[in-house]
Structures are given as C-alpha cells and as structure tokens.
Amino acid sequence: MRVRVHFYSYFKELAGATEISEHVPPGSTLESLLEVLFARFPKLAAMRKSMLIAVGVEYQGAEYILQEGDEVSMFPPVQGG
C-alpha cells in the first residue's frame, strides 16, 4: 500500500525532497518505513535521535501500524515562539 512522507525544516534538504510517496507491505509499522527511508537517505538516518514523527496531525511512535493513505511527517525538534 501507499503512504506519503512529508519532510519539514532542514529535513527537506537532508532528504532532497519536500515529500515522497512510498510503497509498504500491509501491516507495516512506522519503524519498518523508517528503516527503508534511512537506507535511502543516510543523512536522515544520522538525525534519528532528534527526529519527531507524526501521522496526520498526531505524533506517533515507531510501533504505529501504517494505514493505506497515511500522511507521515518527519521533522526535527520544533521551535515555535
């Protein structure tokens, strides 16, 4: 199934894209998606310890099970204010 992945802030430069579309097997977790993305974008992999991940408008952990059509967002620590 297909999910979209959006990048924000300097993660756009690290991934070289603002968003990508990704094919994953049904039942995949966020963690398995991340492994695929980290293999493809090694600069992103280097940031894995200071990375926030949302699906839609909610934060999710690595154990989240992806659904068809999910919009995943990956970004560095936020800095509002």
Binding site: A54, V57, S73, F75, V78, G80, G81
Partner: protein, 132 residues
Amino acid sequence: MRTELTITVEKLDEEALSRGRAISGEAGAVVCFLGTVRGIEDARLISAIEYEAFEKMARHQFHLIFDQASKRWPLESIRLAHRVGRVPVGEASIWVEVAASHRQEAFAACEFTISEMKRLVPIWKHPIFSAA
C-alpha cells in the same frame, strides 16, 4: 473556556489583539506574553527569522495544549497568535493571553502554553543572517 488561535503571515497587531479581549466580571487576572525576534542568534547578527509551520498539525497541537491547560486550571480564555514567514528583528513572532479569576492560574497557564508549544507545535525557525 474561550479560545482564539491565529497563525498568520501578517504583522501581529498587539493593540488590536488586546482590544479583542472580552472578559467577564469574574476574570480578575490577565497575563500576556509577547515574544519578539532578537538581533542575535547563536552569537551571530541576524536581520530576521523565517518561521516555517506545518499549519494543520500546528493548529491541532495548539488546541490540544489549550484543552490540557483548561483541564489543569479554571480559565476564562486563552488567545494566541503566532506569526509565520519572515519576521524582522524587533517585531513580534508570538502573542499569548490568558484570562482567569486569579493571577497564579493565569501565570501558570500562560507559561504552560508556551513551554508546551516549544515541545509540541510544528513550527521551525530559520535565521536570516545580516550581511557582514
């Protein structure tokens, strides 16, 4: 509890925001916070900060924070405005106002709202450095 959230590329008009307050005779305390862009970032002179927001999620996360605040303290209102896009040095990037019956609650909720925003609301800063 009344809430009002503005995310805008326009300059924040502090006077207009203040005038928009509508408090009852029961709200004895209003705490406001105004954050402006400072001229130095990481020991370098800057001319502005470009604020980037994932706006849909930012709105949702702000409302979750307002809900949390209203569960913790009896509040009359929380109003918040965040500017995005390029904000020149000296201009305001954020304005928060909390009204409550008592000052302790208004102060606590205002500080809580700001610190939770800095933890949860997807907005990022990109400093624009001054020409040397």
